[in-house]
C-alpha cells in the first residue's frame, strides 16, 4: 500500500492503494467513478480509455504509481454538462447501442480532435482502431467524429 495524490477532472484525490493497481480500478473501485469501463485488461479494446494530459491512454495498463502529477481526465470530467462537441455529436447521431464501449470511444475521439481538429477518414479509422465496439456502431462513430470536427471549426 502506498499513498497517492491524483488530480482527476480538476479535483485532487488522496488514495492509499497497492502501487501496481491500474488507474482503471483506482477509478472504478476506489473513487467510484465507473464511467471508465473494463473490457479486456490488456490494452486491446479501448473501453478503459482516459486522458493523461492530452493523450488518450488505456487505464487498464496504467499503474497508479506511474501517474505522478500528470492530470487525468475521465468521461465524467470531459465537460461540465455533457456538452463537449464530441458528446453532443454522439447524441445527435444516436451512436450508442448497448453503450458500454462508448465512453472509451468518446475519450479516444476527443483526444484525436484536440491534436488533429480536421482528421481525414483514414486518420479517424486509424485513431479509432484500438476501440472495439461489439455492437458495431463504427459507421456512426466516424460520422459523429466528422460532425464534431465541423462544429469545432465553425465555432
Amino acid at each position: 500500500m502506498a499513498a497517492f495524490s491524483l488530480k482527476i477532472n480538476g479535483t485532487q484525490h488522496e488514495i492509499n492503494v497497492d502501487p501496481t493497481t491500474p488507474m482503471l480500478w483506482v477509478l472504478r473501485d476506489h473513487l467510484h467513478m465507473v464511467g471508465t469501463k473494463y473490457g479486456c485488461g490488456i490494452a486491446q479494446c479501448g473501453a478503459c480509455t482516459i486522458h493523461l494530459g492530452d493523450n488518450a491512454v488505456r487505464s487498464c495498463q496504467l499503474p497508479v504509481s506511474s501517474v505522478g502529477d500528470q492530470e487525468i481526465t475521465t468521461i465524467e470530467g470531459l465537460s461540465e454538462n455533457g456538452d463537449h462537441p464530441v458528446q453532443k455529436a454522439w447524441l445527435e447521431v444516436d451512436v450508442p447501442q448497448c453503450g458500454y464501449c462508448q465512453a472509451g470511444q468518446i475519450m479516444t475521439a476527443s483526444a484525436l480532435l484536440k491534436k488533429n481538429p480536421n482528421p481525414s477518414d483514414t486518420e479517424i479509422e486509424n485513431a479509432m482502431n484500438g476501440n472495439i465496439c461489439r455492437c458495431g456502431t463504427y459507421t456512426r462513430i466516424r460520422k459523429a467524429i466528422k460532425m464534431a470536427a465541423n462544429t469545432n471549426q465553425n465555432s
Partner: protein, 743 residues
C-alpha cells in the same frame, strides 16, 4: 381506429395508488437517482398517480413510462415507451422512461431474445397507453358533466370543444385514478372494458426518430450497467474455472492466497447442487468453480493468478480437429428420418441435366459482450436481492428460488442496462453463482468475470457444417434441392424455410453432435450460419443456370406464390414479402445500372419474422475484404423508431461481416486457444463497411424483430461479392483464413 377488448394483461390495469390513499412519490430507479440536475428536480411533479402498471402521470403533466423488457442495446427502452406514449397521446418531451422491475403480474414476457420484444409487446403496450387515455377522458367527462364521446385529446391535453373546456393530463390524473374525484362522494373511474386504438396513420411518435433515452447518461459515463453497481459493504468476487472443457474440480491450495492483501475467502462452488430444479436458461457456464472473494477487483485478480487449482481431466478432451472430423463424418453418414421431403429428390437429381454440390463450415464463436458477465447479490437467511445484466430475469428468479430454498416473493431480481447480449445473457448461471457466493460469505458481493473467464467458459455459438445439392433441368430450371446440416449440440436446419415450397423435389436433413464444449443461442441462432451458406450456394446455382442472381431468386419466389410445393402454411415465410425486399434492394442499389468498379454480391433471408435483402460492394486488400457499401432493404412491418432501427441494421451487418471474416474459437485438448482480444479478432473500425444504407418496406403490418435479422444474410452477400472480386468461392469461415481466395 380499432376497438379492442382490454383483456390482454388485464392485471396490469389494476390501479394500486388508489389503495395507498393518494398519489405516490415514486423514486427514480436506483441507478438513475444518483445525480439529478436542478432542472430535473424542479420539473418533477409533487405527486405521481399510477394509472396502470405501465405508466404514471404527475400532477404537472409529466408522464413516467415503464419499459418492461431487458435492455441489451436493441433500444427497446426507447421503442417500447414510444408505443405507450403514442396511444396515450402525450408529448414525448414530457415522458420519463424507467426500467420496470421484474413483475409478471403486470408485464408479460420480460425477456430479451429472439428479436421478439416489440412483436410480442406491441398490443399490450398500445393498450396500456390507450386505456390510460380513456380513463383520463372518462375523468374529464365526469368532471365537466359532458358525454365521453365529446372529450378529445391532443398532446397531453383533454378538450371539450363545445364548452371550450380543456385540462392537462396532470390536472385530471388524480380524478382518473379516483383519489381526488371532483364528485362527492369520491367515485372511481372504471377501468374500461374496451378501448380504441389509434389508426396507424394517426401515429405521431411511432415512425419518427427518437434519440436513445439513455444517451445522455451513456455519453457522460453515469452508472448504468451491472458492472457499475456499488452497494454499502459490497465485496468483489471472481471465479476460477477449469482450463479445459470436461475437467472437474480436484483440489486447490487455498492457503497460498489467503494471506494476500484484501483477500477474504476462497472456496470451491457447486453452482447447481443435486436436486436443484433447473430452468432452460441454466444451460450455460461451468457448474464447478472456485470463488475468490476480496475487497477490490485488482486484489482478486492478483489472487486469481496466484491460486493453484488442480482439475481432474477425462481421457477424451476435445480439439478443433476432432470435432471437425466428427462433424464431417456425421455429414457423410446416412441421416435418419428427413426433416422434410417433397417430391422425390433422389430420383430428380439422377435425371437432372446439371448437378452441383457444396459444403460450408463455420467455427465456434464466443459472444464477447463488451461488458463481461457480472452480477450483484445480497443473500441473507430470509431473502435475496440480486441485480445485473440478465436477458431472462424470470427464469433466474425461479432457479434462485430452488438453489437458495427461498420462496419467489423473497427474491428480488433487478435488471440493469446490459453492455451487449447477443444471446449470452439468456443463460443466467452468473447470477446464480453470485447468489451462492454471497450466501456463503454472508455479505453483499459483486461477481465480475475477467475477459478471459468470459471468453473461455463456453456457451458458444455452435460449430456447423452444411451440405447443399441442387439439380437443374435442361432448360436451367431448379428441379431438386437438398440441404443437410450438422452442428455441435444443435441441428441447424430450418426445413420449412425457403427454398422449401419453391422446388418440386426438396429434401432437408439434420443431425447434431454432442460435445463437451458447451453451446448456446448466439445472435440469430442457426440463421447466423445457414443464411450465408444457403445464399452463397444459391448464387452458385444461379450462375450454373446462367441467370442473374436476383432474377433467379425472384423466379423461385414467384413459384412459391403462384404454385407452392406442399401445403403453403407449412412454409414459414411469405414469398411476397421476401420478393418485396429483393425488389426494393435491386432498385435502391441500382443493381442493373451501376458499374462502380466494385465487386457486388446479393443475398436475402428471412428470420425472426422479418425479411432482409442486401447488396454489398467491395474491393479486396490481399485476402481481406474491404466493404465499400451495403445497401439493405428490410420488411419488419411498422418501424417504431427509424433512427434506432437503422442502428440495429448497421450493427447486425458489421457484426455479420466481422465474425464471418475474422473470428473463431479453436480448442486444443479442451482448452480454448483464444482467451482475450489479442488472439480473438473482433472486427475493428477500419475493417467495417465505409457506408451502409437502409430502406424499409412501408406496409403497415404489425412490427416484427430487428435485433437479429440483418446479420445472417450479409454473410452471403459478402461471400458472393468476394467471388466476384477474386473468381474464387469461399466456403469456410472465417473467410480470412481461406487460403485460395486471393485471385
Amino acid at each position: 381506429m380499432t376497438l379492442v377488448k382490454t383483456k390482454i394483461g388485464r392485471r396490469s390495469f389494476i390501479r394500486t395508488s388508489a389503495l395507498a390513499g393518494g398519489g405516490m412519490m415514486v423514486g427514480f430507479s436506483w441507478l438513475a437517482s444518483c445525480k439529478m440536475t436542478p432542472e430535473e428536480v424542479n420539473s418533477l411533479p409533487k405527486e405521481w398517480f399510477d394509472i396502470n402498471g405501465f405508466l404514471k402521470i404527475g400532477d404537472n403533466g409529466l408522464v413516467t413510462i415503464m419499459s418492461p423488457n431487458p435492455e441489451i442495446g436493441q433500444n427497446v427502452k426507447t421503442a417500447m415507451p414510444m408505443i405507450v406514449a403514442d396511444e396515450l397521446d402525450v408529448d414525448w418531451k414530457n415522458v420519463i422512461v424507467e426500467q420496470a422491475p421484474l413483475n409478471l403480474d403486470v408485464f408479460q414476457r420480460q425477456l430479451a431474445g429472439g428479436s421478439q420484444s416489440i412483436r410480442a409487446g406491441w398490443e399490450g403496450l398500445r393498450m396500456a397507453g390507450a386505456t390510460a387515455r380513456k380513463m383520463l377522458r372518462q375523468a374529464a367527462a365526469k368532471a365537466w358533466e359532458v358525454p365521453l364521446e365529446e372529450v378529445t385529446t391532443s398532446n397531453g391535453t383533454l378538450y371539450h370543444k363545445a364548452s371550450n373546456k380543456s385540462a392537462g393530463y396532470g390536472e385530471m390524473a388524480s380524478a382518473a385514478v379516483g383519489v381526488a374525484s371532483p364528485n362527492d362522494p369520491p367515485e372511481n373511474i372504471e377501468v374500461p372494458e374496451e378501448v380504441e386504438l389509434k389508426d396507424i396513420n394517426d401515429f405521431t411518435i411511432i415512425g419518427t426518430d427518437r434519440l436513445n433515452v439513455d444517451g445522455p447518461k451513456i455519453v457522460t459515463g453515469k452508472p448504468l450497467f451491472g458492472i457499475d453497481v456499488q452497494e454499502e459493504g459490497m465485496l468483489t468476487a471472481m471465479i476460477v474455472h477449469p482450463e479445459a472443457f470436461g475437467q472437474t474440480f480436484k483440489s486447490m491450495d487455498a492457503e497460498s492466497i489467503k494471506s494476500m492483501p484484501g483477500i477474504i475467502d476462497v472456496f470451491p462452488v457447486d453452482v447447481y447442487p443435486e436436486g436443484v430444479e433447473k430452468q432452460w436458461s441454466d444451460g450455460g457456464g461451468i457448474p464447478q468453480l472456485v470463488a475468490i472473494v476480496g475487497e477490490s477487483t485488482w486484489q482478486c485478480m492478483q489472487a486469481k493468478k496466484a491460486l493453484k487449482v488442480e482439475w481432474e481431466s477425462p481421457s477424451n478432451l476435445e480439439s478443433t480437429e476432432s470435432y471437425e472430423d466428427d462433424l464431417a463424418k456425421l455429414l457423410d453418414a446416412p441421416a435418419k428420418e428427413p426433416a422434410r421431403s417433397d417430391g422425390d429428390f433422389n430420383k430428380a437429381i439422377k435425371g437432372a441435366a446439371k448437378v452441383i454440390e457444396r459444403t460450408y463450415s463455420a467455427p465456434f464463436l464466443a459472444h464477447n459482450t463488451m461488458e463481461p458477465m457480472n452480477f450483484f447479490a445480497n443473500v441473507t437467511a430470509d431473502k435475496a436481492e440480486v441485480k445485473g445484466p440478465i436477458q431472462t430475469p424470470e427464469f433466474l428468479e425461479k432457479t434462485l428460488s430452488s438453489v437458495l430454498g427461498l420462496p419467489i416473493d423473497k427474491i428480488d431480481v433487478g435488471m440493469t442496462r446490459m453492455g451487449g447480449g447477443f444471446g449470452r445473457r439468456l443463460y443466467g448461471h452468473f447470477g446464480v453463482e453470485a447468489a451462492v457466493i454471497s450466501k456463503k460469505v454472508q455479505a453483499p458481493i459483486k461477481l465480475v468475470y475477467t475477459r478471459e473467464d468470459d471468453m473461455t467458459q463456453g456457451t458458444y455459438r455452435p460449430a456447423y457444417k452444411v451440405r447443399f445439392k441442387a439439380g437443374l433441368d435442361k432448360d436451367n430450371n431448379l428441379i431438386a434441392w437438398s440441404v443437410k446440416g450438422v452442428g455441435t449440440n444443435d441441428d441447424l436446419v430450418f426445413e420449412n424455410r425457403f427454398p422449401a415450397g419453391a422446388v418440386d423435389n426438396y429434401l432437408a436433413e439434420k443431425t447434431s453432435l454432442q460435445t463437451k464444449i458447451t453451446t448456446g443461442a448466439w445472435r440469430a441462432p442457426r440463421s447466423n450460419f445457414m443464411a450465408g451458406a444457403e445464399q452463397s450456394f444459391m448464387d452458385e446455382v444461379a450462375e450454373l443456370a446462367g441467370k442473374d442472381p436476383i432474377e433467379f431468386r425472384l423466379e423461385l419466389f414467384d413459384r412459391a406464390i403462384k404454385d407452392p410445393v406442399g401445403p403453403p402454411e407449412k412454409n414459414d415465410y411469405d414469398p411476397e414479402r421476401y420478393a418485396g425486399v429483393l425488389k426494393l434492394v435491386k432498385e435502391k442499389a441500382n443493381w442493373d445500372g451501376l458499374d462502380n468498379g466494385k465487386a457486388r454480391g446479393v443475398s436475402a433471408y428471412y428470420c425472426h419474422n422479418s425479411y432482409v435483402a442486401q447488396v454489398l460492394d467491395l474491393t479486396m486488400d490481399g485476402n481481406k475484404p474491404m466493404v465499400e457499401k451495403v445497401v439493405c432493404a428490410v420488411d419488419c412491418g411498422i418501424v417504431i423508431n427509424p433512427i434506432s432501427a437503422k442502428n440495429q441494421i448497421e450493427g447486425g451487418i458489421i457484426d455479420g461481416i466481422g465474425h464471418a471474416t475474422y473470428s473463431q474459437m479453436t480448442f486444443e485438448n479442451g482448452v480454448p486457444q483464444q482467451q482475450n482480444f489479442d488472439s480473438y479478432h473482433l472486427i475493428r473500425n477500419s475493417e467495417a463497411p465505409k457506408q451502409i444504407e437502409s430502406y424499409f418496406v412501408d406496409n403497415g403490418i404489425d412490427p416484427t424483430g430487428l435485433g437479429e435479422p440483418s446479420l445472417p444474410p450479409v454473410i452471403g452477400a459478402l461471400a458472393n461479392a468476394m467471388y466476384k472480386a477474386t473468381g474464387k468461392r469461399v466456403y469456410n469461415q472465417p473467410f480470412i483464413l481461406e487460403k485460395e481466395i486471393v485471385g
